[in-house]
Assembly symmetry: C2
Homo-oligomer: 210 residues x 2
DNA sequence: TCGATATGACTCTCGGGTAAGTTACTACGA
DNA sequence: TCGTAGTAACTTACCCGAGAGTCATATCGA
């Protein structure tokens, strides 16, 4: 399956150029990590699915964690970029939430495993993976906290722990909508965006349509 | 630490009676599984913390999964019982959600690791654990689906997938409130119950106070 | 020949699971 | 009252497979 005849091999090498091979490995790894989770995936699995040998992965990525960190960097990078892009648009409250969701759906379209990679509960908490993981979580939380603060202030609630809890809840609402979408592969990003808008509308009533 | 002098040892035995020992092991196991998760916990860990040897665990529980299943049975049993108790009270909508949360906080007070055991994402999906895990989830979902259907119908939404997604979201809202509480050990169940009521109120407005 | 790509065949550790024995106590017959 | 047999509780020392990580080597273009 090594298909030696593939691609116009770059200079001075036998097979595929390093950069190209790395990209290929990363795509496979992302898919496998996303499907089975970090803990349940072995490096040999990834190698087999990529049609190469295990040592090559260690050559290029150093360790299982290193490989995962690269996948995670791609996933969290895409997500953060999209979140920032939407945030810069200046919408607030529910409108921003919907817009952010919409953007995330578009970014993840066709590669939903990236979401699972970025939210893998079996991922190592230490070192590079842990830090990367924390980064976009924190950014999401910041934005959520803002919107939630507004909402609670409206009802005269200024309890710090209330804000904290509500922020956590909003984060998981966001997450569960994306996860639900990832679990329903037939649904287009636009369709899911519309669905979110509808659901928020149903909860907050037509008044908050903004 | 085996405290040979403990309890009026039952007939014909050297140390602790089986039932008593099983109980002791289960408590330690629940705590350890809850803290570190199924995957990251080794049977030897549990044995060490319980002050006994590994084979004794295999004697009594058959396998690591068997041990976990016993812990899970306790956890899910308590949770289901509480959920059913509250459901039988007949409240609906937000009122029921708040009442259920309140009950769960009371049940989990002082043993919050049971929640983590019942929601361990690293638990095996097959066999006994998987089935037990599914049971109370399904029950929770049924109840949520009911309330959500009501809410969506109010706003003229009868899309089946909308209902599905919204139910999933409500389930994670419930979960994230409990998890948040578990992560804030200083907070009393009653206090947390009040907090939930406050937060639901802030979202749905005073109108839905019922 | 050099350097980059690539691999087969290892080593080593961890952890689930087991075989075989040891200890301490009771029951009971002589 | 003293063996001795029975049995439940409990442990030490092991097996074995999975999987992370490594090393010596092979292949091939320039």
């Amino acid at each position: 399956m090594t298909s030696t005849a593939a691609s116009g091999a770059r200079s001075g090498t036998k097979g595929v150029a390093r950069a190209e091979r790395e990209q290929q490995i990363l795509e496979v790894a992302g898919r496998v990590f996303g499907d089975r989770g970090f803990a349940a995936t072995s490096v040999a699995d990834v190698a087999r699915e990529a049609g190469i040998s295990k040592p090559l992965i260690y050559n290029y990525f150093g360790s299982k964690e290193g490989l995962y960190a690269h996948c995670l960097r791609e996933a969290s990078g895409l997500l953060i970029a999209e979140i920032e892009r939407t945030a810069a648009l200046g919408a607030v409250g529910v409108a921003r939430a919907v817009a952010t969701l919409d953007g995330v759906f578009r970014v993840l379209a066709g590669r939903t495993w990236l979401w699972r990679v970025a939210n893998d509960p079996t991922a190592p908490v230490a070192d590079a993976p842990g830090e990367l993981m924390g980064a976009y979580r924190r950014r999401l939380e910041e934005l959520a906290r803002e919107g939630v603060g507004e909402l609670l202030a409206l009802s005269g609630d200024d309890d710090a722990l209330d804000l904290d809890a509500m922020t956590a809840v909003c984060g998981t609402i966001f997450g569960s909508l994306v996860t639900w979408w990832c679990d329903h592969p037939g649904i287009a990003p636009e369709e899911m965006g519309a669905r979110c808008e509808r659901l928020f509308g149903a909860v907050f009533g037509p008044a908050l349509g903004r």
